[in-house]
């Protein structure tokens, strides 16, 4: 977040439109394809603005080493990783501290939706690979991972859908992108289980007054609901739809 926000008013023009022409409550273009990888038990590819992210699920499967298995449920593991070419400057392929933290919060965002008790003594691996990054890659990754888990046939209480709101040029807006993230004043990514309004991811970077906080939080909730529709449509396309055979193509 650029706290000073000096000339950040230019992030919203006189018509109230953002740099890429979006209104304050508008999502970037999103597309989700299900079942795009042959080897994975479940997979999904999401384009979310300029984010291009592949998610894949392996499991339930045997745990190695065995002593890390849990007697009463499956061990959920998650790796969020950025390919070296996904960022403005080449990223070192070794996991950064940021990637390790995001892997943890993604895992904890997905876990409440999974019925892990159905698979004791197994492991479920979720891999989120960022091929091209833009603002909001953790939310995009959760959306893809959630669909990939469904594609893998893992028993779930609900999907998990994620979206951020933020503050740029003094205004609360939905789904901030990379430029808005860097020049803006706050970013509030959340994830929910949409049928029960349970909040499974919540993070905040940047300053919000109490009023702004409620406004941003509610706007992000709306964004999550939109994502939920897109996730459902993607799954329907794969399992019932005519577009299913295009999965994996861009």
């Amino acid at each position: 977040m650029g706290k000073q926000g000096g000339d950040s008013t230019s992030l919203i023009n006189s018509q109230g439109l953002r740099l890429d022409g979006r209104r304050f409550d508008e999502l970037r273009p999103v597309s989700i394809e299900v079942g795009v990888l042959k080897n994975a038990d479940g997979s999904a590819y999401i384009q979310f603005g300029k984010n291009k992210i592949m998610a894949a699920v392996y499991g339930p499967k045997e745990v190695h080493p065995k002593h890390s298995a849990l007697a009463d449920r499956s061990l959920l593991r998650c790796r969020y990783h950025m390919s070296p070419f996904s960022t403005e400057e080449r990223k070192n392929p070794a996991p950064s501290r940021r990637e390790i933290e995001i892997s943890k919060v993604i895992r904890e965002a997905l876990e409440p939706a999974l019925i892990l008790e159905d698979y004791p003594r197994t492991a479920i691996d979720v891999f989120v690979e960022v091929l091209q990054s833009d603002g909001g890659s953790r939310c995009a990754g959760i959306n893809a991972a959630s669909v990939a888990l469904a594609d893998a046939g893992i028993n779930m209480r609900d999907l998990v859908c994620a979206c951020a709101a933020g503050k740029i040029a003094g205004q609360i807006v939905l789904d901030i992108d990379d430029t808005e993230d860097k020049e803006g004043q706050a970013d509030l990514p959340i994830a929910i289980m949409p049928t029960s309004n349970r909040v499974t991811l919540f993070q905040l970077d940047g300053q919000l007054s109490n009023e702004e906080f409620s406004k941003a939080f509610n706007l992000a909730l709306e964004g999550c609901k939109s994502l939920y529709q897109m996730q459902r449509e993607a799954l329907i396309r794969k399992y019932f739809g005519k577009d299913g055979n295009e999965a994996g193509e861009q």
Binding site: M1, K3, Q4, L76, R97, R98, I100, E101, S103, K104, V105, R107, E108, E111, P112, L188, M193, N197, R198, V199, T200, L201, F202, Q203, L204, D205, G206, Q207, L208, S209, N210, F213, S214, F217, L221
Partner: protein, 280 residues
């Protein structure tokens, strides 16, 4: 840290008891839901460091030290000084901590504490610059956790905040040949606000502040919110594999401010004692 959960497996049996207590507004150690434990903050405990503080929050005990050196700014922020927060849960702090590189819990701890300080703008990093693009102050705040009994996020954050508030750094002049030259004068860091972290645990339907290890062992989820002294919320993090309701999030945003003011007063008092002037 990874074993904070495991340590109390047997105590999962206390969950029923705890829930019943919480329903009556009480906790195992007698506190009510929104009571913090006794907080003691002592600054200048490591004289060799430019700033330091020891924090005891109940039985949780941490020590923060600030070291300041000159460095080169990042290429994309040539006009900003460097601020790096790290934390290690020392193996002597708990039967479950282990030596080795930081695990995901230690990394999350350090990053969330860092975020609260960074996003609040506590330190005006644009004033840590001696020469744009070349010479800036590099401020390293490191925390050693000495005894774990829950709520490392807040105790670590308080220690870093108190250490930064009492840090004195040497003033530098740029010589005619462009090299920074240390002067005798010691100056404080450019402080703009005092961010306070408040961490709440969700157990069943209840939200409690400042959880102990015993409470963390049975909590469903954790939420940390940081507020500055103008009442803005400036950082947040939900953790652990459970969820919060929408109302709980909004409730947490209220609690963080009221409890934040309590804690800010305690820290400010110690800082005044130590440096003799009210900050801000």
């Amino acid at each position: 840290m990874s074993a904070v959960k495991k340590v109390l497996v047997v105590e999962q049996l206390k969950r029923t008891q705890m829930n019943e207590l919480l329903g009556r507004g009480k906790r195992l150690d007698g506190r009510s839901l929104l009571d913090m434990r006794d907080l003691s903050v002592t600054t200048n405990v490591v004289e060799k460091a430019e700033g330091s503080a020891r924090v005891k929050l109940g039985n949780t005990e941490v020590i923060a030290g600030v070291k300041v050196s000159l460095g080169t700014p990042f290429p994309d922020t040539p006009d900003k000084g460097l601020l790096v927060v790290s934390a290690e849960v020392l193996p002597l702090a708990s039967p479950y901590a282990e030596p080795g590189p930081p695990d995901e819990r230690s990394i999350e701890l350090a990053r969330v504490v860092d975020r609260g300080i960074r996003e609040s703008g506590m330190i005006d990093v644009s004033k840590l610059v001696l020469e744009v693009g070349k010479h800036v102050y590099a401020v390293f705040a490191d925390v050693s956790v000495l005894n774990v009994d829950g709520n490392l996020f807040d105790s670590t954050s308080y220690a870093v905040v108190a250490a930064l508030l009492t840090t004195k750094i040497p003033k530098y002049e740029i010589s005619p040949s462009g090299e920074p030259v240390k002067s005798e004068e010691m100056i404080p860091l450019p402080i703009t606000t005092v961010p306070i972290s408040v961490t709440m645990a969700k157990i069943g339907d209840y939200l409690i502040v400042d959880p102990t290890s015993e409470e963390e062992a049975v909590m469903d989820a954790r939420i940390t919110l940081v507020s500055d002294d103008k009442g803005n919320i400036c950082a947040g993090q939900k953790g652990e594999p459970g969820f919060l309701s929408i109302d709980q999030i909004l409730l947490a945003s209220q609690i963080c401010k009221s409890k934040g003011e309590e804690v800010r007063a305690i820290i400010n008092k110690e800082v005044e004692r130590a440096i003799g002037v009210p900050k801000q």
